[in-house]
Symmetry: none
Subunit: 248 residues, 2 copies
DNA sequence: TCTCGCCACTTGTATAGACAACTTCGGCGG
DNA sequence: CCGCCGAAGTTGTCTATACAAGTGGCGAGA
C-alpha cells in the first residue's frame, strides 16, 4: 500500500478516508472483509495512529465500517436502499406521464454568495457562485420553479449552458459522479417571484424541496425546487426485504 | 463552571458533550450565543484541549454548534427535523432532540370506511375500520397531528391501547413485520380541526405526509401526518450512492 | 482619514506516548 | 476433556505539544 501523498491540500485524515472508501468502492475490500489494523495502516500509509484512528472512527459513524473493540475493523454490510425521494430529472418525469415539457430561463448570472448560500455550498460569504432560476411547465401549466446555486469550482462553465435544451442536473451529472444527496422538505407560502411564476393565489401553499448534492466531498449545488402544493405531490414506495426492527 | 466529574463511567469527551448540550437545552446558551473558547473550556472543565476539541467538533457535525475557524463557536439555530428516508417513531425523534414528548388522544373509534379510506386500505366501502386522531407535542408546542385508519384484520385490539403511553407505531410494529411503506408528501392549507390542534394561523401552510404500510401484503394502516409547515421540516441524506445515474 | 500590516486569539490538524477496555486464542492444570 | 488464565493484539480514550490557518482589531504610516 502506497503512502498517502502529503502534498495534497486536503487534510491527512481526509485523504486516509478517501483512500479507504476508494478501496471499498473498487472492490478490494468486499463486505464483511476485515481491514488492516490501525497499526498496520499507520505503517502502510505513513501517518500517525491518531490520524488513522480518526479516519476509521468517522467512516464508522458514517456507516462504511463496523468496528469492534478488541477485535478489528470490518467493511459494513450495505443497508437496504431506500429510495423515497428518487433523484430524477423533471423532464424525464413529465415525459413519462406523456406530457410536453418546456421551460423558461428566468435568470442566469454569477453573483456573490449570501451568507446562507455560502454556508449551504461550504464557501466563504461573498465568494462567486453561479445562480439560475428556471420555470418548468408541464403541458403549459407551471409545475416547478428551480432555483439553483452552483459551485463554480465544480462547474465553471455552468452559465454557458442552454437550459431550455439541457436540464441543469443533466449537465452537472455529466461532469462527475454524485456521491451524496441531502433533501429537506418544507411547506411554505411562496414569495412574490415564485408565486408569480407558478401562478398561485395569495394563500396557496407551496412545497419546497431543498436538495444539496455532493461530488467527491465537494458541494456541487443547492437546488430549491418549489412546487404548487395543491397541484403537486411527492410520492415514493419502499419495499423492505429485511426486517424493519421492532419499531415501525 | 464546575469541572467535569471524572469518576463517571462515560468517556470524558462524552461528558463534555452532554454538559454543553445540557447548557443549551437549559437555555444558558441561547441560539447564536458564542461559546467559551476551547482554551477556556479546557481550563473550566479540567480536560485537555484535544478532548474539548473533539466534543465541540462532534457537536458541530451533529448540528448543535456552528464553528468558524479564527472566530469562535456558536450555538446553531435548530429547526426540528424529521427523518425523511427513515420510518421512525416520532416519540424517539423528539427524545433524541432532548425534548419532552407528550400527546393527546383526540378521537379513538370504530367507524365505517368512506370510499377514500376503503380504497386506501383495500377494503370494501362501509367496512369497519379503526380510527384514531392524536396530537403530538414537543416541549409543549404541537408538532404533529396523526390521523390513522387501521385495518381491523391486522390489529383487532387497536382501540384498546393507551396511546398516551404507547405510540400507534410502536403497537402496530409489535404485531408483525412491516415489509413495505408508501409516502405521499403534500403542502396544503389545513382544515379547521388540524389548524386548531396545531395552533396555526389562517394562512399558515401545513406539510402533509400520508403513509401507508404493508405487512404480508396486507395494508396495515394509513396515517396522515400533518406538520406545521413553518416550524417543521423533513430531511434525509443519502451518502455515497454508488451510481445516481445520468438523471437528476 | 484611509490603508496596510502586524498581533492576539480562535479553530483545525498532526504527532507521540500512555493507558484502558475488550477479544481471541493458546497453553496449562485440573 | 474441560475450564481457567494470561499473553498478544485490537480498538478506545486522554494528554501534551506543536504548528497551520483563519479572523478581527489595533496602531503606525502615508
Amino acid at each position: 500500500m502506497a503512502a498517502i501523498r502529503r502534498h495534497e491540500t486536503a487534510p491527512l485524515y481526509r485523504q486516509v478516508k478517501d483512500h479507504i472508501v476508494g478501496r471499498i468502492l473498487a472492490g478490494d475490500w468486499p463486505e464483511g472483509e476485515r481491514l488492516p489494523s490501525e497499526n498496520e495502516l499507520t505503517r502502510a500509509l505513513g501517518v500517525s495512529r491518531m490520524t488513522a484512528h480518526r479516519a476509521l472512527r468517522e467512516l464508522s459513524t458514517e456507516g462504511w465500517l463496523t468496528r469492534v473493540q478488541g477485535d478489528g475493523t470490518y467493511v459494513a454490510e450495505v443497508k437496504p436502499q431506500s429510495a423515497l425521494l428518487e433523484i430524477r430529472d423533471i423532464r424525464d418525469e413529465i415525459a413519462e406521464r406523456g406530457r410536453a415539457h418546456d421551460c423558461r430561463v428566468v435568470r442566469l448570472a454569477r453573483q456573490g454568495a449570501t451568507p446562507e448560500v455560502a454556508q449551504a455550498l461550504s464557501l466563504a460569504p461573498g465568494a462567486p457562485v453561479l445562480h439560475s432560476l428556471v420555470l418548468h411547465r408541464e403541458g403549459g401549466t407551471p409545475v416547478q420553479v428551480e432555483e439553483r446555486h452552483v459551485n463554480p469550482a465544480f462547474a465553471p462553465g455552468y452559465l454557458d449552458q442552454d437550459f431550455t435544451r439541457t436540464t441543469a442536473f443533466e449537465y452537472l451529472g455529466g461532469l462527475g459522479p454524485m456521491d451524496a444527496a441531502e433533501h429537506v422538505i418544507e411547506a411554505e407560502l411562496p414569495g412574490p417571484v415564485v408565486r408569480e411564476l407558478l401562478g398561485l393565489g395569495p394563500a396557496e401553499p407551496c412545497l419546497l424541496v431543498t436538495r444539496r448534492t455532493w461530488s467527491n466531498s465537494l458541494v456541487v449545488s443547492r437546488a430549491r425546487l418549489s412546487y404548487p402544493g395543491s397541484r403537486y405531490r411527492l410520492a415514493g414506495r419502499q419495499d423492505y426485504l429485511a426486517n424493519m426492527g421492532t419499531s415501525q
